[in-house]
């Protein structure tokens, strides 16, 4: 029955026009960035590497598909939570607002299974959105600019990753980015259980991200102990996978924190929804 419910949820997401907004936005944004880099990418790189050229002589062009993909990802991963929340924040509250939640809850399927299938559908949507971003950012960029070594600027300076190593790192980075985005999806689905309108959970999710990001960036001693445990601190952990050597310990800690958030949010959502009075 859970699979049938997951199938139902996927059909509903596919049939809703708002589900395609994210894909449209990604396509447009990546298109604009790729066009800009294709026309004036060298100037952009000169601006970034300008300070390094006093100590380093760079021969040839660093602009290639891998670097462009990396730049696009850095720019867009920030915007993806909104696109994810736009669809996942509507999964329960949208049904409540429409009145269709009554039809679902009065079926023999348990409330827990119903909500679990919503979390499952949120995972599928997040994954598909991320795969689309990957195809656009890495796939199309490679097709336009061709492959090459990836130059990454880190706290320790400029690192060059050989071309053959880049793709596996992109795959790992996308997996970690998925976990980060799925945490956002879990927040909005859980908020969706608490509300009977679509706007609240979406705005609530974005507000939470903003507040946690602010706490993470403020240099106040009070927040120092809290910061490592905020999910927003680990949203950009995927970037560490392009460092050499890879900080495995830090990455595992990020995976642990994000997984803990997902599990806790799901557990609370399931507990709350199982007891909720459906009044709409």
């Amino acid at each position: 029955m859970w699979w049938a419910s997951l199938y139902n949820e996927s059909i509903k997401i596919l049939a809703k026009p708002r589900s395609y907004l994210g894909f449209l936005a990604i396509t447009l944004l990546v298109g604009v960035i790729l066009l800009a880099l294709a026309l004036d990418g060298e100037s952009y790189l000169d601006f970034v590497t300008g300070s390094l050229e006093q100590n380093l002589m760079i021969e040839g062009s660093m602009l290639n598909g891998h670097l462009v993909g990396f730049i696009v990802l850095q720019m867009l991963v920030v915007h993806l939570p909104l696109l994810v929340a736009l669809v996942t924040g509507d999964l329960i509250s949208g049904e409540a607002a429409m009145g269709t939640l009554r039809n679902l809850v009065t079926r023999p399927l348990s409330r827990k299974s119903l909500l679990f299938s919503k979390y499952g559908a949120a995972a599928v949507y997040t994954l598909v959105l991320l795969v689309w971003l990957g195809l656009m950012a890495v796939g199309v960029a490679q097709w336009i600019f061709g492959p090459g070594d990836l130059a990454v600027l880190s706290g320790e300076g400029l690192q060059i990753l050989p071309s053959v190593e880049v793709m596996p790192r992109f795959l790992q980075a996308f997996t970690l980015a998925f976990l980060a985005l799925y945490t956002v999806a879990c927040i909005s689905v859980t908020f969706s259980c608490l509300a009977d309108n679509s706007i609240g959970p979406i705005v609530g999710t974005m507000a939470l991200i903003m507040v946690f990001t602010l706490i993470g960036t403020l240099d106040v001693p009070l927040f120092e102990n809290v910061r490592p445990f905020l999910f927003t601190t680990h949203m950009a952990a995927w970037r560490s996978l392009f460092l050499d050597p890879t900080p495995l310990r830090d990455i595992l800690f990020s995976v642990g924190i994000l997984t803990l958030h997902c599990t806790a949010l799901m557990a609370f959502g399931l507990w709350y929804f199982d007891r909720k009075d459906i009044l709409t």
């Binding site: 199938y7 039809n103 009065t106």
Partner: protein, 316 residues
């Protein structure tokens, strides 16, 4: 032998300090049609929502099909079909897709086939692929009934199924309810403000007000407790009253407008009265029997409202 499909004992539900349902107990026997009546805010919808686990009572016991909700929720809901308040569907999907989706959630093996059967049953064949957004209210009501019957439930709970329907739609809905009850043996719980429709189909009644159950029992027994209101149209009203005064006390006769004489009597008393009028040479143009349920409903509510205001002083 019929057994109780619903056994509700001492159900209570509050929203903050407002008590929506207070110590509600009733039973619904297998194969019966129960009319669930009461004014707005009486607690009917809250009770129906408790019956289908949309909301949980704060106290009391609720057993359906002899099973407890806390342990057998899935088994109970697999035997209940409901249409609570207005029928809502995914407007961006077609009628067939909506039913298929609900069929899968109900564990039906061939949801498409069953959905097509139900669409035909409610008279929506040919509109399967049309988006629900394009449906009129009456069509949505029919679709609501289709989703309710999708998994062939034993108990059907209908909350205001006639709302927004045109006269033909109301007749169709009534016939469908009777067909489901008499031909398929379904037990039906019908909540409605449209008393003539309830009277036409109900075998049992529950009347609620301010969260409490005021009366319950067999419709025939409850309604036989009061006199029938008869409106007679005769050519000479005063003479007719004189003629009937030997057979009926004066307080059961009221002169209405024009040639109307209103009587309050039981069914068996009517034929000799008509005979006496005709033998006296009076012309009887029409005999109209007013709805008994409506009178009964108003009488009970009026009595309860007066009682709570005078005795308690405050609404419950």
């Amino acid at each position: 032998m019929a057994y109780p499909i619903i056994e509700a004992q001492g159900l209570e539900k509050s929203y903050g300090s407002f008590k929506a349902v207070v110590d509600l107990s009733f039973e619904l026997q297998e194969g019966s049609v129960m009319g669930f009546l009461g004014p707005n805010g009486a607690g009917k919808s809250t009770t129906l929502r408790m019956l289908v686990d949309l909301i949980r009572p704060v106290s009391g016991n609720l057993r359906l099909f002899g099973l407890d909700y806390r342990r057998h929720r899935g088994r109970i809901l697999s035997r209940i079909g409901c249409l609570i308040e207005k029928p809502d569907f995914y407007k961006y999907l077609g009628a067939l897709q909506n039913l298929e989706l609900l069929g899968r959630s109900s564990g039906i093996r061939k949801p498409r086939q069953r959905a097509l059967e139900m669409l035909e049953f409610v008279g929506l064949a040919g509109r399967e692929q049309d988006a629900v957004a394009s449906f009129s209210h009456g069509m949505r009501q029919r679709l609501g009934l289709a989703q309710c019957l999708l998994h062939n439930p034993d108990l059907i709970i209908l909350d205001e199924p006639g709302t927004g329907l045109d006269p033909q739609g109301i007749v169709d809905m009534r016939e469908m309810i009777l067909k489901l009850n008499r031909e398929q043996g379904k037990t039906i719980l019908l909540s409605s403000h449209h008393l003539p429709e309830v009277e036409a189909v109900a075998t049992h009644l529950v009347l609620m007000n301010r969260g409490r159950c005021l009366v319950q029992g067999s419709a025939a027994e409850l309604l036989s407790q009061q006199d029938r209101k008869i409106r007679l149209e005769v050519d000479r009203v005063t003479e007719a009253m004189d003629c009937l005064s030997s057979m009926l006390s004066r307080d059961k006769m009221v002169q209405g407008d024009g040639r109307i004489l209103e009587l309050s009597l039981c069914r068996e008393e009517l034929p000799p009265l008509i005979k006496a009028l005709v033998e006296r040479g009076l012309s009887v143009y029409s005999v109209e029997s007013r709805q008994k349920l409506e009178d009964y409903y108003m009488q009970i509510l009026h009595h309860h409202n007066n009682e709570t205001h005078h005795v308690v002083g405050l609404p419950i």
